[in-house]
């Protein structure tokens, strides 16, 4: 509070500044993945490209992260509506689903390696590892945010305040973002 206190007393203009900053950061991340997938398309068009079937585990991981978004949103809804137990239940559930997603991505990479798609082989495979790996790194960032949110949920007495709602909202938006980002990447990698 002492360090960030200065921003609390500013002229308010609709969107909360930290949330705005998060959206600016997400725009930045979108540009990063936009350029990676563009590079993918450009390189693919040049020929000498390895085609392979995506391992099934990536379908399951996609479903997992989709469910985790639903559980987190449920928790957020419960927090806003005074459903303390539901709020506390679904935060760790989301966390576990998030960890499961990262583990499944790792298993997916192992499955890829087993069918002969190596990181240091044809760029068609390298791109797959790189894009899903960079995405997984962003999910891990979201996991840390979820851990903080879960610690708050269990250590602080339940109390609906605007400040806590905004903090939760930051986690919520970022988590939905990495979820939607993965769905885009998954469909992109599936169709290509």
């Amino acid at each position: 509070m002492s360090n960030s206190g200065i921003i609390e007393h500013k002229v308010k203009r609709g969107i909360h500044p930290p949330l705005f900053a998060l959206w600016a950061a997400m725009a930045s991340i979108v540009m990063m993945f936009g350029s990676l997938t563009s590079a993918y398309i450009v390189r693919q068009a040049a020929g000498n490209w390895l085609e392979f079937r995506m391992p099934d585990i990536f379908f399951y991981s996609t479903i997992t992260i989709l469910i985790s978004s639903v559980t987190l949103h449920t928790s957020y809804w419960a927090f806003r509506n005074g459903r303390k137990n539901l709020y506390r239940l679904f935060l760790p559930v989301t966390l576990i689903l998030g960890i499961a997603f990262v583990v499944m991505q790792y298993q997916g990479w192992q499955a890829l390696y087993d069918i002969g798609v190596a990181l240091d082989g044809n760029p068609g495979g390298s791109f797959f590892y790189l894009i899903s790996g960079v995405h997984a790194a962003h999910v891990v960032g979201g996991l840390f945010a979820l851990i903080v949110a879960a610690i708050y949920a269990f250590t602080l007495p339940y109390n609906y305040t605007e400040k806590r709602r905004r903090r939760f909202q930051l986690v919520l938006h970022y988590w939905h973002f990495v979820d939607i980002l993965w769905v885009y990447l998954f469909l992109f990698l599936l169709i290509q």
């Binding site: 002492s2 360090n3 960030s4 206190g5 200065i6 921003i7 609390e8 007393h9 500013k10 002229v11 203009r13 969107i15 500044p17 930290p18 705005f20 900053a21 600016a24 950061a25 725009a27 930045s28 991340i29 540009m31 990063m32 993945f33 936009g34 350029s35 990676l36 590079a39 450009v42 390189r43 040049a46 000498n48 990181l119 240091d120 044809n122 760029p123 390298s126 791109f127 790189l130 960079v134």
Partner: protein
């Protein structure tokens, strides 16, 4: 401004200002508790601005010194460099006759580091880092940035990047030597050249930290501009400096991540054996295993950042120039809205012209046409801005202060360098001109010298706001005249060399029959470069001397400017305004307004009845 008028300003802010209950929460300034939190790990935007500026000056001296060394090599290739041995050590090889020669590998390293340092550390961090931090909160009437903590981190990531890059200068294998653009394969294969190993690794680490710094800073600047403006400061009342810095920050947020993507692929190629950029390469006669990569892919990713990057450099300079021209010509900026739309148009166009850096890289000529057209369209908003700057000067009551001289010099440089951009933007003419000294001359004038001029204008103008003292005007004017004459003397002749096809980045030319007759010209350029460099030392002396011994600032608003930074106390604490925040009633350029008793009306002064009536009529 007299002291009674100053008191009026304070009273006005106290009576009409916006009360954000600052003092109920902050009893005095608790951030200034000790030396470390006040001067080192400071979260105050004013201190962070000074940190960026001083670090930028440090890097500018290093980057410019490197250019002097390689200019000596180009101008006097047969003279002994043995006297540099104490500084450069093993990079000077002395033969039996006592003749010292610059190691060619190190020559490339100097060229590479000169580019990297000046482009990223001086003209990105040193320029927009300094002035975005200083001016965004001040001119918007904000207490500080949206997140002072992230702002502090932004500086310290830049500092970390600086340390890593500085260490790379002292590697036994030398710093990276493959050009500031770091094209593969020289950047992708550690065994490609001596600088491609540890030197390139540190280069990548340093620039990754640097991108983190730019992103943290940029997100903060955009959030602050869009969320923390004081009451009455709507977007159309913002000074052009803030508009320019806002668009600069947006460009940074959207383009630097693309560079990071390119770096990811590069890092994997270097360390993990992938082949994103590499295919069928022989090093020392041995074939590499990498197959299927494309070096052009890196160029696309690099220049998708690289082109917006030149606007990240020049837009803040444009904003500073607009403000300084208006203040010292005592006239409103001509065509304020056209200026804003031009900034936005330049920002937008900067994203769809990147391949004009790649006309000769083997991209499809039909695609080149697309990039030619959009490149040439950039001339339109640029010309609008130049027209407006000149119109602002027209019939102005011009005060030739050092700041004003540099602002006018900026316009001169921008025209000279901008016109050659129209030549280079044509893919057909580029066949002759690419990778020649014509290109070197073009970008040094338009984004090197011009950006430095904007920065100097800003430093001379806002020095009192930063340090409470003035820089010496006489030294400032000598600095200006030596720099503008010297800069033209260096870069003007390079155009002729470029048209004759003299390639850039060569170690020496006297061994080529076609270019040998440029020897005299190269000597001339080198001498001009040394003189211009010595003028910059004058600036550095003036800067540091004035911090402690300059003429003291006795009034809050010495230039008679309208913007809010000049309503704060001379020694402003963290939070900028001691009591309430000023409320804004008018745009930033009410200079020499008809019927007013002074030739400027500050933004926080309420409209008079007459002005209200006029506004109602519109």
């Amino acid at each position: 401004m007299s002291s009674s008028q100053q008191q009026e300003t304070d009273v006005l802010i106290n009576e009409q200002g916006y009360d954000d209950h600052f003092h109920e929460h902050h009893h005095g300034d608790k951030y200034q508790s000790n030396f470390i939190t006040h001067y080192i790990f400071s979260q105050d935007h004013k201190i962070i601005a000074r940190q960026f500026l001083v670090t930028g000056i440090f890097w500018a001296i290093i980057g410019a010194s490197m250019s002097i060394i390689f200019r000596l090599q180009l101008g006097f290739p047969d003279d002994s460099m043995a006297w540099l041995k104490p500084i450069l050590g093993k990079w000077i090889t002395i033969n039996d006759a006592g003749h010292g020669a610059l190691n060619p590998e190190f020559y490339y390293a100097l060229v590479t580091m000169h580019g990297t340092i000046i482009v990223f550390f001086v003209l990105t961090a040193g320029l927009s880092g300094t002035f975005a931090n200083l001016l965004i909160p001040y001119q918007l009437g904000a207490r500080d940035m949206a997140s002072p903590f992230l702002n502090m981190l932004s500086y310290w990531f830049f500092f970390l990047a600086s340390v890593v890059m500085f260490i790379s200068l002292f590697l036994s294998t030398g710093p990276f030597a493959g050009g500031w653009t770091a094209y593969p394969p020289l950047s992708a294969l550690p065994e490609a050249s001596s600088g491609s190993g540890a030197g390139m690794t540190l280069w990548l680490v340093s620039l990754t930290f640097f991108v983190v710094s730019v992103l943290l800073g940029g997100i903060n600047y955009v959030t602050t501009v869009l969320n923390l403006r004081t009451k009455g400061m709507n977007l159309w009342r913002m000074p052009l400096t803030v508009w320019a810095l806002l668009v600069t920050a947006i460009l940074g947020i959207l383009s630097f991540p693309v560079l990071v993507s390119g770096f990811f692929l590069l890092i994997f190629d270097r360390g993990m054996g992938t082949s994103f950029y590499l295919s069928e390469i022989f090093v020392n006669g041995a074939a590499m295993q990498n197959v299927g990569g494309s070096p052009i892919l890196y160029q696309h990713l690099f220049w998708f950042l690289g082109h917006p990057e030149v606007y990240i450099i020049i837009l803040p300079a444009m904003g500073l120039t607009s403000e300084v021209l208006s203040v010292h010509a005592r006239k409103p900026i001509f065509g304020y809205k056209a200026m804003v739309y031009s900034i936005l148009a330049i920002g937008f166009l900067s994203f769809i012209v990147w391949a004009h850096h790649m006309f000769m890289s083997g991209v499809n000529p039909f695609i080149s046409n697309f990039f030619v057209v959009f490149t040439l369209i950039i001339a339109v908003p640029s010309a609008v801005k130049v027209f407006n700057w000149i119109s602002t000067l027209y019939k102005g009551n011009i005060r030739f202060t050092s700041a004003m001289l540099f602002a006018i010099g900026f316009v001169s440089m921008f025209i000279s360098g901008g016109l050659t951009g129209i030549f280079l933007g044509n893919s057909a003419i580029d066949i002759q001109l690419h990778d020649t000294y014509f290109v070197v001359a073009h970008f040094h004038i338009v984004m090197g010298i011009a950006a430095f001029f904007g920065m100097f204008a800003g430093v001379y103008h806002w020095f009192p706001r930063m340090y409470g003292r003035f820089m010496n005007e006489t030294l400032g004017r000598i600095h200006f005249w030596m720099t503008i004459v010297g800069a033209y003397a260096i870069f003007w002749p390079m155009h002729y060399m470029g048209m004759a096809g003299v390639p850039r980045r060569y170690y020496r030319f006297d061994t080529f029959d076609a270019f040998g007759h440029f020897g005299g010209l190269n000597e001339f350029i080198t001498i001009a470069a040394i003189i211009t460099f010595s003028a910059q030392l004058l600036f550095v002396f003036n800067f540091f001397y004035s911090i402690w011994y300059g003429k003291k600032m006795t009034t809050k608003n010495p230039w008679g400017a309208t913007t809010l930074e000049w309503t704060t106390p001379i020694k402003a604490g963290h939070g900028n305004w001691p009591g309430k925040l000023p409320t804004v009633h008018r745009w930033a350029y009410d200079y020499s307004k008809e019927g007013a008793d002074k030739d400027f009306i500050q933004q926080h002064l309420p409209l008079t009845d007459k002005e209200k009536a006029e506004e109602a009529n519109h």
